[in-house]
Amino acid sequence: MLGPGIAWYLGIAAFLFATGALGVLIRRNPIIVLLSLEIMLNGGNLALIAFSRHARNGAGQIFALTVMAVAASEVCVGLGLVVAINRRRLALDVDRLSELRG
């Protein structure tokens, strides 16, 4: 295979996953949280594709497509939630949406 080995792609994938996780943990705007979640999912996708190429097995790419579809659905529902929260005039701040507080 031309170019860098699979390991490099995996490194990028790991970095994307960690960065996405950091974003989910740090940000307070739910929309940004969803964006960070997308980054994590993409990191996972990249790893899948890389392994698929390395193992010469198509299952990885199939799985990546499925993940893409699920991510799209989840974003759809998540943004619906954001819209509903906004319509109810609640603050768009995950720290303020804390009715689970003990």
């Binding site: 996780a21 989910v24 943990l25 740090i26 307070r28 995950v94 720290d95 949406l97 804390s98 009715e99 689970l100 507080r101 003990g102």
Partner: protein, 629 residues
Amino acid sequence: MKGGAWLCLFAPLVGTVLILLGGTRFSRRAAGWLATTSVFVAFAGAVWAFLDLRSASSHAGITYTAWTWLQAGQFKIGLSVLVDPLSTLMMLIVAGVGGLIVLYSVGYMDGDDEERRYFAYISFFVFSMLLLVEGGNLLLLLAGWGLVGLSSYLLIGFWHERPTAVAAAKKAFVMNAIGDATMALSLFVLIAHSNSLEFGTSFDTALHLSPTAVNLVALGLLGGAVAKSAQIPLHTWLPDAMEGPTPVSALIHAATMVTAGVYLIARTHPIFEQARTVELVGAGIGALTLLVAGLIALVQTDIKRIIAYSTMSQIGYMFVGVGVGAYANGMFHLMTHAFFKALLFMAAGLLIHALADEQDIRKMRGIGALMPWTKWAFLAGALALVGMPPFAGFFSKDSIIAAALHDHWYGVILAAAGLVGAFLTGLYTFRLYFIVFPGEPTAFVREHRHAHHGKEGPLTMLVPVGVLTVLAVIGGWIQFSPFWHPLTNWLDPVAPTLAVAEPTNAQEAIASVLAVALGLAGIGVAWALYGRGEVAVPRLPALQRTLEHKFYFDEAYDALFYKPAAVLASRLRSDFEEPVILATGPDLGEGALEIGEGVRRFQTGLLRTYVLFLGTGLAIVGVIFLAVR
């Protein structure tokens, strides 16, 4: 024989149970008569057993077992009674003297609110004592031992509103418990070696035990005897036990319970003979006690306490007797002592009853003029106590001194102590007599004395005193060693006198002469000091103080045992119980609350926090998986 023994044992128990169950259905008087009857029935049973045994071919003694009481592997204990010469002798003494005393109590305790409880207790005591002497194995003996301790506690503290009585009862019980513990330990050693507590088996085992083991067993038994019989060092409970009613003092603390120690040594003499040193130590303790008690009795002013110290002293004689190996002599003195000591207590009881519970002898001066019968009864008892012929004490006490004399140098010391004791006995007894009876009645006596329908006391009190007076006179005539000794012969199959303790005729004569002479000397000195009042009592303040404080035994025990225990208990409470144990409950509660508060801080309600925990958990799990594979 069997019937007699069982009847004797259980009749008083039936009496107790009936009184307890009857409750207020019985009148107080009826409870008293019920108790008296039950004890006299026991006496009848004892006579029956005695006569049967006497006419039996072998006088060795038979054990009758009703059923197996407990069984653990090879170890078996049956509910059994032993009918042999020693036990029948004790049965007769306990049931006979006991019956007279219970009859006396009917008159003495008349009018007390809790009479029924008294009679239930006292028949229970008679039952326990009979269990002790009739028990067919060491475990039943120990059971009886413990039960008489219990009865003693219940009866000393009978007037439970009095704090002094309650304290005395506790003291008696605790000191007896020490003896119980040492006895139990020696029984454990016996079980460990022989797996049985039957008398015969245990005595055989004693022959094969190592010297250490047999000495330990004997020491344990001696400890029990010393505690029960109020010998030094476990003697301080007996004077305090006079807080109980006078018949209790007569029965328990003169005639029967305190002599249980002597009985024990006589019964288990094969063990003691293997541990001769311990036996001689016992004799030494007896000698020491008889001197100390005699000295203390010289300064006491409470009539019952004087008689109590006298008891302590006389039991010292009995210990000397059985300690040197003259078992029959010791038991003989036990018998005569039961007669005259019970008599003395009951006569004192007549005085106390007549003077409305006054016990200070200095206030009783001159009462002899108003109560002549009591005076003569008391005089008879006193002469028997001092050992004047032909009264009972002469025959029994002198034979002990003689037996001790025979037994090498140690015995000579014991005999010397016994002779000094004879002098002291004469002195303190007749000090008591001369202070109380002769002379003009004091104003106090005239005011407070109330006669009972013109007589000196109710009939129920006078009859037993009369019977015992007769016995105090003639009771010793049953044995006049070396000429005539049916008692020694009777006890021979069970408790043969050791050869070292068989005095020669010469020694007997010397002992008797010296003892009588010293006794008369004591009476003479007492007459000079107290009777005529011519010679003043010597003033030795230091000695007087020591004697009045009973050689500071109580103070020593207080400092040695009670105070450290009290300090330890209070330190334990403040340093351990309160901070550690009592605080544990609230501390656990507070700790739980604190944990809850701490955990609560994690429940921020923020989604981010929970995801953070997820992420952290993932990281940790990843490390674990990587490290552990």
